[in-house]
């Protein structure tokens, strides 16, 4: 058990260092897009709410919309920053051969690496939330909402990791997986309420979305942060179901993919 924990810890530390080796690159990859995304939406909604006669849209006044968009920033930093670029490169360039003979599995290695990334993201999010509360641009109904929100965003990050892992594993079959990553990002942003609150979407469309995991990626975590009456247990179970479902697919894909693996460059 202790030996196993040491492996997790060593991988965590190496990954932490790797992620922060090129700090400017890390900031541009993770923080930059989220900030620009927020900057555009702030300006867009400000220009809409300054139109004469517009004070409330679908239950949101400007302050509430601003809060929503800031929480999108926090949730996307906390839960949707990870990508499977390295995983896909490892498979494509034949670098997973070493994992196959190490006494630490491929999945465990990438999970530990993800946890290191998530550790950095939690620190960034903590700093961002504190800063936004001091200004004050974001207000929370109580401390409990913040903790519930952070807990749920952590669960979302795990589902996001599984989805990214799934895309990365497709490198066993595909020459390039970046297209699938972009498709996943575009679809998730649009359907999860990251661009607009779901109240702005046609009702029939939102009903359809209820049967998908997408609202749980952004919209539901934001509502939990805002202290809305969301059944946390139910929401967690839904996320757990989707995470296990994708995990099972990943397990099958890895087993089948390894059979096709040619260890390019060996």
């Amino acid at each position: 058990m202790q030996a196993e924990l040491r492996k997790w810890r060593a991988t965590f530390e190496v990954s932490w260092t790797n992620h922060l080796a090129y700090r400017l690159n890390f900031i541009l990859l993770v923080f930059g897009p989220a900030l620009v995304f927020f900057f555009i939406k702030y300006n867009l909604w400000k220009s809409i709410y300054t139109m004469p006669g517009i004070t409330v849209l679908q239950g949101y006044d400007f302050d509430q919309m601003l809060q929503y968009q800031l929480l999108v920033l926090i949730v996307s930093l906390m839960a949707q920053g990870h990508n499977s670029m390295k995983l896909a490169d490892d498979i494509r360039l034949g670098r997973i051969s070493s994992y196959l003979i190490y006494p630490f599995s491929f999945f465990k290695f990438h999970t530990a690496s993800f946890l290191a990334f998530q550790g950095i993201q939690v620190l960034i999010c903590g700093f961002t939330i504190s800063f936004l509360m001091i200004i004050p641009l974001v207000t929370f109904s109580d401390f409990n909402s913040v903790m519930r929100g952070l807990y749920f965003a952590s669960l979302v990050s795990f589902l996001w990791f599984q989805l990214q892992f799934l895309v990365g594993l497709l490198a066993f079959w595909l020459e390039e997986t970046w297209i699938l990553r972009v498709i996943l990002m575009t679809t998730a942003q649009f359907l999860s309420g990251a661009i607009l609150p779901l109240e702005f979407y046609p009702q029939s469309f939102v009903k359809f979305l209820d049967y998908t995991p997408f609202p749980y990626l952004t919209y539901i975590p934001i509502k939990i942060f805002q202290g809305d009456s969301i059944n946390l247990l139910n929401a967690s179970l839904v996320l757990l179901f989707w995470s296990l479902f994708v995990y099972a697919i990943n397990h099958i894909l890895f087993k089948r993919g390894v059979r096709l693996y040619t260890a390019a460059g060996m």
Binding site: A21, Y22, L24, N25, F26, I27, L28, L29, G32, P33, V36, F37, F39, I40, N43, L44, K46, S47, I48, M51, I54, L57, Q58, L174, E175, E176, I179, L180, V182, I183, T186, T187, Q189, F190, I195, L196, F200, Y201, P202
Partner: protein
């Protein structure tokens, strides 16, 4: 001059033919690229359409004008995806691995080769969608025949301004060792250009017009198409293109002097 143009045309023909051969080698990859672009077009249009389900206008524009702007930017984006996008990603790889050496040794302009080498044939097919949408919304706002004739020129001007700015941003790849993030920064410029100027607050608008003139990419031509007697934005756009073209060569040379030629 004509000899040089002929030489570069011949080289570009080879770029196109090798890119087609490369792009069609992996069929699923080819189809997924088309799907990716279509999803992006759909989400961009649907987001604006959903907003207009609840408001009558944003700034001075109503739904049709705004949708026309979005379609214009999608058409520019389509040209960008087809003709230049891939080369920026490759450049980052070439600088990191040192394979840019081979490019520097060739008897051809390095900027030409570095930024126009790769073409995406799959994205090219989406021209039917982007121009179909542009024609639909162009007719809805009542564009005249001469405006349609000028449309491809305006689009090329927009693409030129955008790509020029991106080349300047990409020069910083020579300074950072891992330059993947610079490409993400470049993509953020595109994000900013996808919204009209009046959406931005006054200070942001000034910076994005005169400092980093990214909002001129779409706003200048579309404003001019909607109000042909107002030349202000187009004048800014021409000025921005001229200034940026003038500084590309020295900035590129300066950046090359920082190139470390990794692993050679």
């Amino acid at each position: 001059m004509i000899k040089t143009i002929k030489k570069y045309s011949r080289v570009y023909r080879h770029f196109v033919s090798t890119s087609i051969a490369l792009g069609t080698s992996f069929r699923l990859h080819f189809v997924l690229l088309i799907l990716m672009d279509l999803l992006f077009y759909f989400s961009s249009l649907a987001s604006v359409s959903f907003i207009f389900d609840h408001v009558n206008q944003i700034g001075p524009w109503q739904r049709t004008e705004f949708m026309f702007f979005v379609c214009f930017m999608l058409a520019v984006d389509h040209l960008h995806m087809t003709f230049v996008s891939e080369s920026f990603w490759e450049l980052s790889h070439q600088i990191r691995t040192g394979s840019l050496d081979f490019l520097l040794l060739k008897p051809i302009g390095t900027v030409f080769h570095a930024f126009l080498r790769f073409i995406r044939p799959a994205s090219a097919l989406n021209i039917v969608v982007t121009w179909g949408l542009l024609i639909y919304y162009g007719q809805a706002i009542g564009l005249l025949w001469w405006q349609w004739i000028l449309m491809p020129i305006l689009m090329l001007l927009s693409l030129t301004l955008l790509v020029t700015m991106e080349i300047l941003v990409s020069c910083s790849m020579f300074i950072t060792i891992e330059s993947f993030g610079i490409n993400f920064l470049r993509m953020q410029l595109q994000q900013l250009a996808r919204w009209p100027d009046f959406v931005y607050r006054l200070w942001a608008r000034r910076i994005l017009t005169f400092g980093l003139p990214v909002i001129l990419v779409g706003s200048a031509p579309v404003h001019w198409l909607l109000s042909p007697f107002e030349f202000k934005f187009m004048a800014y756009m021409f000025l921005a293109i001229i200034v940026m073209w003038l500084i590309i060569a020295p900035v590129w040379r300066l950046s090359l002097s920082r190139y470390e030629s990794a692993s050679s």
